[in-house]
Amino acid sequence: MSKERLSPATHPLEQHYLDMTRRRFFGTAAKGIGAGLGGLALASLLGAATPGNPAGFYSGPSPHFRPKAKRVIYMHMEGAPSQLDLYDYKPDLRRRFDQDLPDSIRKGQRLTGMTSGQTRFPVAPSMFRFIKHRNNQDGLWLSELLPHTGSIAHEMALIRSMHTEAINHEPGITFFQTGNQQPGRPSLGSWISYGLGSSNANLPAFVVLITQGLGNMQALAARFWGSGFLPSEHQGCRLRSAGDPVLFLKDPEGVSRADRRKMLDLVGELNEIEAARTLDPEARARIAQYEMAYRMQMSVPDLTDFSSEDQETLDMYGPDVRKPGTFAANCLLARRLAERGVRFIQLYMRGWDQHNNLPGELRAQCGAVDQPQAALIKDLRRRGMLDDTLILWAGEFGRTVYSQGTLTQDNYGRDHHPRCFSIWLAGGGIKPGIAFGETDDFSYNIVKDPIDVHDLHATMLHCLGIDHTKLTFREQGRDFRLTDVFGNVRKELLA
């Protein structure tokens, strides 16, 4: 194999032509031109490699400009938490209890099939008390359900003016994760793995941790962390909470580590022959993944063993930290992954889909996340890691101001609401202690500084030193980006 093949510094198309030397082409074509052309067409369908770096000494991917953040921890609240009950403080709504939502607010906008048949849309103010916490502006009102999160108000950039295009969970999460509502594009973590590469040869660059919710749960598809058309080594690796963190990682009984090594060497040789014969980049991705799995046999047990954590740290994350798979345990695991140089750590907390019985379910959900997520921020801060770790806390959309189902003094539900919702960022590159954007009196429409999903992605990539217009991958004849043809870096959010 020529040495260029190993260097990802080359444009994929150029790389392909370098591989496809005259001799190789005719070698493939020995049985007839047809076979050669077929092979060529097939090979062309398979993209290759990683974005290049023109600085000659270094062949791996690297940031376009000096980054503020080196890694991302993305806490996705699957099901869409209610902004009205957590972040978007609307005290005046309490005097409109059970009034109808005015048409001038709703403006005939679409509703989901779950409430479009309702005869009326009664305003359901939040039944929770709000508490004002010190931030770097004039204080931040947050729900009594998030007291610990309030204690990091001075670190957060709360965005109340987020909006999205999707109104249901699947397209909503797909849009947040991939920049497109249709499945098939690479996820944010895959783009970042592709754009920045791995800094730990023993662990995947993109790790996914899932916590089962206590409220109404929606399906969570593995394609949310899929690599789409990017080479498959960039897909997210899910660490399971029960049993082995990674399935099929352990050697079977009776197989020693030396035996495993011998087997991998042989399989590696066979794959190398296949790679040389077909030029299929997936053959090399397979070799790389076998090797990583071999190293992960050692690195994963060390990662998930909390015995080196002191009691004070464990207490900070709360009593659930000892139970694998809880949000507390996953937050601590996220910090340990961040320490080990993993680029993109994706946490999912399921169970935020409160169509009915919102007060009770929301209390339970917040009880599970509030202390651990605040502890994660504080733990990163005191260890000097928050400055180069970018934090995102977000659901896929928000929830309606009107009640789904019966509204009473102490119970209500809320339907999906894409037109405005609240998320927060913190850490590397983000302006700390601010609230950004405003919604109307009903938290129904945005009245100031709307931010869409592409803007969020562009801004996050900017913090990581990536120009979102330049991180591209050629597929089916055109260059694709995470932000497609959209996205503006929102400087107002940057430190």
């Binding site: 080196k70 005097r95 929770f128 023993n202 690195s299 005191r382």
Partner: protein, 520 residues
């Protein structure tokens, strides 16, 4: 078979001129008979020429395809050239078929399209063989009269030779043999068969070996049939390699002035020193990580996240010493280094950020950082400091941020540093929480807020079936109203033809209301 296809590919430069000439001739015939269609005396020759043009265009496209596969051409330009070439062949064939139609329009339109594809196809082909800017180069203004200062021996002696004799085939638009000679990095990298330079040994360097091969040898450079380099030029290259093939060495006294034969001699600039590749490879072998702080910069971020426990003082010294000038951001967290490594870190001129979290470093080690001139951020979390470290930290003038949580310092000690260095952001784990400023009492609900707009507050569910729209024609689309799409505005029920029209209505409700009321 292979050889035959090879020959076929090489006929491309010959064959490609046939369709060009024939299509041009055809265009001339069409122009000549533009106004005399009925006569059409040229029908016979026209058909013959069109078919010859189509056939030769197909042959040119096929041969071009095989020539392009040699991999010596700029892939992007090649890709476009190939697509345009195929377009020309296809369009030429269609033009040939169109000769048999009664009307003249189809064949003329197709001929026009063929020519419209031919011109850019030909231009791109020429760009690949003659280089970018070949056509317009004579029109470009000459570079400034004042010679640019020549900062290196490479720029003074070697680059002019490469620029004039080599780069047309080993450069940005054509990289034969995977080799480019237009920048120091690419020269060092070599071609598909490996490096071309062996510093200090010209005779073992591939580039020199090929210059000396007999003129008939296939591997000779420049290739057989092109003018060889002069003995003087070869001597310059040999001497440069003999002296170490450096890209940074200053020009020699009395060195020959750069040979100004090219109109576009680039400004010679001293190449930035780059981190040595073997040192980077050693980091990777130790499962460490080194990456540029940003693209194109020679400064590095180095860390050992995968196998930190394998890094002790000896290993750290071995891995980091060759990279001392380049490291700007270094994390040794969770490694087994001790104070013994610190003096090496203090030597790093570009070091901005240093992470020593979870190491056995003590105040004695920190003392050597007093010499660090660029250090802005220092992480000493969970190290083994004593109060004497405060003296060192207060003395590092460039320091902007320091992390001291769990470093063995009590609060009064940390506060004394805060007192001495008010410009320093100090995080010692004692300022993690934001306090509460206010809290609401019990939440109570009422419905006494006045309604937002005029629609009377509805009490109890409304029976929608009793509402009749005041209009019969949709104000937005003009189509008949369907009563199921009715909304309330200013107490009036307004009907629409479909669920999409209310959106338009809300853009300017009063305008549409006026339309409705005007029409009633």
């Amino acid at each position: 078979m292979q050889a035959l296809l090879d020959v076929l590919g090489r006929t491309h430069p010959m064959v490609l001129h046939l369709p060009i000439g024939l299509l041009a001739g055809l265009a001339a015939i069409e122009l000549l008979f533009l106004r005399r269609e009925s006569a059409d005396r040229a029908r016979g020759p026209r058909i013959l020429i069109t078919w010859l043009a189509a056939l030769s265009a197909v042959v040119a496209a096929v041969s071009g395809y095989f020539l392009g596969r040699s991999g010596d051409y700029d892939p992007i330009i090649l890709d476009r050239h190939l697509k345009l070439g195929i377009a020309v062949a296809v369009l030429a064939c269609l033009t040939a078929f169109a000769q048999y139609t009664r009307s003249a329009t189809p064949r003329r339109v197709l001929l026009f399209l063929t020519l419209a594809s031919l011109v850019p196809a030909g231009h791109l082909g020429a760009t690949m063989t003659h280089g970018e800017d070949f056509l317009l180069a004579p029109l470009r203004p000459k570079p400034a009269d004042t010679p640019q200062p020549v900062l290196t021996r490479f720029a003074a002696e070697v680059r002019p030779i490469l620029e004039t004799r080599c780069v047309s085939c080993h450069g940005p638009s054509k990289a034969k043999g995977g080799l480019r000679l237009d920048s120091p990095e690419q020269i060092e990298e070599g071609g598909s068969s490996g490096p071309i330079l062996l510093a200090g040994d010209p005779s073992a360097s591939e580039i020199i070996r090929r210059l000396h091969l007999p003129e008939t040898d296939d591997e000779r450079m420049p290739p057989p049939g092109k003018n060889p380099l002069t003995p003087a030029q070869i001597e310059i290259l040999e001497a440069w390699i003999q002296d170490g093939a450096s890209f940074t060495e200053p020009p020699r006294d009395g060195s020959p002035t750069p040979i100004q034969t090219s109109d576009t001699t680039p400004t010679p600039a001293a190449p930035k020193p780059m981190p040595p590749a073997p040192a980077l490879a050693a980091i990777a072998t130790a499962l460490g990580h080194a990456e540029p702080t940003s693209r194109g910069e020679p400064t590095l971020f180095v860390s050992f996240p995968a196998d930190a426990q394998a890094i002790d003082d000896a290993r750290a010294a071995e891995l980091l010493r060759p990279l001392v000038p380049f490291i700007a951001d270094l994390s040794l967290s969770r490694t087994r280094i001790t104070d013994a490594t610190l003096p090496l870190l203090a030597e790093m001129p570009a070091l901005r950020k240093l992470d020593l979290r979870d190491t056995a470093v003590t105040s004695a080690g920190i003392a050597s950082l007093a010499a660090a001139k660029a250090l802005e951020e220092l992480i000493l979390v969970r190290t083994k400091l004593d109060p004497s470290a405060i003296e060192t930290l207060a003395g590092i003038a460039s320091l902007r941020r320091v992390y001291l949580w769990g470093a063995g310092l009590d609060k009064p000690t940390v506060d004394s540093l805060r007192e001495r260095r008010k410009d320093l952001a100090i995080e010692a784990g004692d300022t993690l929480s934001a306090e509460q400023l206010a809290a609401e009492d019990k939440v109570t609900f009422s419905s006494d807020a006045p309604p937002i707009e005029s629609p009377p507050a509805q009490t109890g569910p409304t029976d929608l079936s009793t509402i009749r729209p005041i209009n019969s024609v949709c104000p937005v689309s003009g189509a008949p109203v369907k009563p199921e799409y009715t909304i309330l505005y200013k107490g009036k029920a307004i009907g629409f033809c479909c669920p999409n029209c209310p959106k338009g209505f809300w853009e300017d409700p009063d305008k549409y209301l006026a339309i409705i009321e005007g029409k009633r």
